[in-house]
Symmetry: C2
Subunit: 224 residues, 2 copies
């Protein structure tokens, strides 16, 4: 019997900016789910890799060009798409939203960053895809260093703390967190200070790029 299954890719792009996580969604121009919000994505071309496909679809629909999305999971429920059997390989990534100019095109009528606690109703099984991506993002914190592409080049320690609490969606033991992060040797403490609010001036930090990408590769075990 002839197999009649189609293959698509979807890109969950999270944006982090000073205490807020958002996700990039498009409003669908065509049916099914015309006028509804969805994760950017589309069909794979015969001769392109899955990574090329997901980067192309993201670029075409939203204007966002990134080449470091990570494979999340493949969704293959036979009933997930009303058009027939379509499985989707989902990818995800975390970026600084200000680094990108977004504009809707091809299958997208609009494109917008939505805060993840203010999401519209989503098309297909995209809520399930997004939920899995969020939980993967949270667990990544425990085995990879994080923040290099998201924070300013020099930042007070509290900015890193805010990033972690935002991603986790809960408070953390601040003293322990500081101890554990410093133990990773991934930060260089600068002599420069910054004044914020009414507290005393705080030292600025900078990622040690070499060490950061080494640990990204080797993995860490970070109990937070």
């Amino acid at each position: 019997m002839e197999q009649s299954i189609k293959l698509s890719v979807d890109a969950v792009v999270f944006g982090y900016e000073s205490g807020t996580i958002s996700v990039l969604l498009i409003k669908r121009k065509y049916n099914p789910f015309k006028g509804k919000w969805a994760i950017p994505g589309g069909f794979v071309l015969n001769d392109e890799s899955l990574e090329e496909a997901v980067e192309r679809e993201l670029r075409e629909e939203t204007g966002v060009q990134i080449n470091y999305l990570e494979q999340l999971y493949t969704f293959g429920n036979p009933k997930r798409d009303p058009r027939g059997r379509i499985i989707s390989v989902a990818y995800f990534g975390l970026v600084h939203p200000n680094a990108f100019k977004i504009y809707a095109s091809t299958d997208a009528e609009e494109v917008h960053w939505f805060k993840i606690n203010e999401l519209p109703e989503l098309s297909f099984d995209h809520k399930e895809i997004l939920d899995l991506a969020i939980s993967r993002l949270q667990s990544k914190i425990t085995y990879e260093p994080l923040g290099f592409e998201l924070l300013d080049e020099k930042f007070p320690f509290s900015d890193l703390e805010k990033l972690y609490t935002t991603l986790l969606g809960r408070a953390i033991d601040r003293r322990n967190f500081r101890k554990k992060i410093l133990k990773l040797n991934v930060l260089d403490e600068l002599s420069e200070k910054v004044s914020k609010g009414s507290g005393r001036p705080a030292n600025l930090f900078k990622f040690n790029e070499k060490r950061y990408f080494q640990l990204k590769k080797d993995g860490i075990v970070f109990d937070i």
Copy 2:
């Protein structure tokens, strides 16, 4: 343009038995790679889920019936299969090989457990799939408790230690390991003892089933 991509699934089944890890392979009955060894797998039927497909293919080709394979990764390189564009969703699992009777059928001419350090040449990109599965298995140790289905019901602590060193492929700090495992509260120490070799009798342990599956669900952070 019509999409002409086919979808298959592959099952990497690891077996653990007293200090040895093996993997279940089949010898291919048909071309391409006729007579060569490969990971069990095959094409997805139009109306079955990916999980149903991988369990069916595994059962048909090897006789092994398991329903708790975990999705590993989707391999989509356009050149990975000489027959055309075929992407594969790979799954993996870890079992006690003695719990299964294996017999080759359908597309398999033979089926065999191979020690992972004595592997034959593999078909397609199956070496790459297997390597990723091994590294995922090793990293799972750091975020999930392990051993319930693999060790005897009652076992000396050294059996659990051997499981971890075997999976990691390296020695561990034994005293630290014992401390960390006991801290998880996942083992009940029994009053029964066992004599092995010339050492003094060792207490037997048993997994606390409720706590084990709770931690399996919640996740752990285990630095080994």
